[in-house]
Point group: C2
Chain length 188, copies 2
């Protein structure tokens, strides 16, 4: 059998998401995912450590993208603007993936263990952004607060982007969520 | 043996924290905790499901206190002020417990699994505050953003309170952290 498998990763991810949504995450096996993708189990394991990683591989790539953008942001930007600018860059990552993202979120929402895994990944993103701000010379507690404010913006923007039938892009939701957070923290 | 065991819960917690700090969480057994507290294993299990719960029982009590205070806050308070006022009420909870809290945090920081458990408990607090704000008539996304801004304030305040040798109280750190968050989100 040839090892040339164009977009094996993408085909496996699509097959996995469809199976998780159809019959549930717990009842889906790696063998079934590989079969539906027209690939072998061995190929699956060349790309993913297990069936849970199919759901979270993208989140690691997203963290790398956001943290890289934050690190390269122009000096002198206010920390919150550097953070939010980096989150806007996720637009290129989400781009055309809204349908897959909706499917994925439905699977995660239905499983406490997967929801917890997602929380932990977001906490890693917050910690990585805090570190990147430290490298930019931002002191504590500003660095941690800017990173956590960024996560609040990200979560709110992501939820609204998923639900948005008007197809506005992710970056626009990020900017609107930042405005909403500013209004909230300004308070009475 | 008498079942009258004054403050068995507190004695077990103190014994557990000391053992976790001395010899590590993984290497401490329930039998050792009970022995050090002068109690039986059976008594331990009347109070805690397992040795991990000793570390997190307080966090559940804290969530109840904060959410109860938020629910009872005067109508008309801005959401962020209601949230932060509820977090200030945790002052009565933390009060004299700084030494125990420091010991506990050292144990948790040393274990990835315990750090993850703590993150999940904080996410539950955020979700519970969001629900309480909904009941107060606060719509989305304001409710979620106010709750998550509150968690950012709580984390920052708690860290500073733990490190504070000047013995300023937790509520004061909460107010200062809110000011810091406001400065951060206001940005450039």
């Amino acid at each position: 059998m040839s090892r040339w498998e164009p977009d094996a990763r993408g085909r496996l991810e699509k097959a996995a998401l469809e199976l998780y949504a159809d019959r549930g995450f717990d009842r889906t096996t790696v063998a079934e995912i590989a079969r539906r993708a027209g690939l072998t189990e061995r190929t699956f394991f060349r790309h993913y450590a297990d069936k849970r990683e199919v759901l979270f591989h993208g989140q690691s790539a997203l963290t790398d993208l956001v943290v890289g953008t934050l690190t390269d942001a122009p000096a002198g930007l206010a920390p919150i603007d550097a953070v939010v600018g980096a989150l806007e860059a996720a637009d290129g990552f989400f781009g055309e993936r809204r349908d897959g993202a909706r499917l994925r979120q439905g699977v995660i929402s239905a499983h406490a263990e997967l929801r917890e895994r997602e929380l932990i990944k977001l906490a890693h993103l917050a910690a990585a952004m805090t570190d990147a701000l430290h490298v930019r010379g931002v002191p504590d507690p500003t660095a941690g607060l800017a990173a956590e404010a960024g996560i609040a913006v990200f979560r709110s923007a992501f939820e609204r982007w998923l639900a948005d039938d008007a197809d506005r892009d992710f970056a626009q939701h990020v900017r609107e969520s930042l405005q909403a957070l500013r209004a909230v923290t300004a308070g009475s």
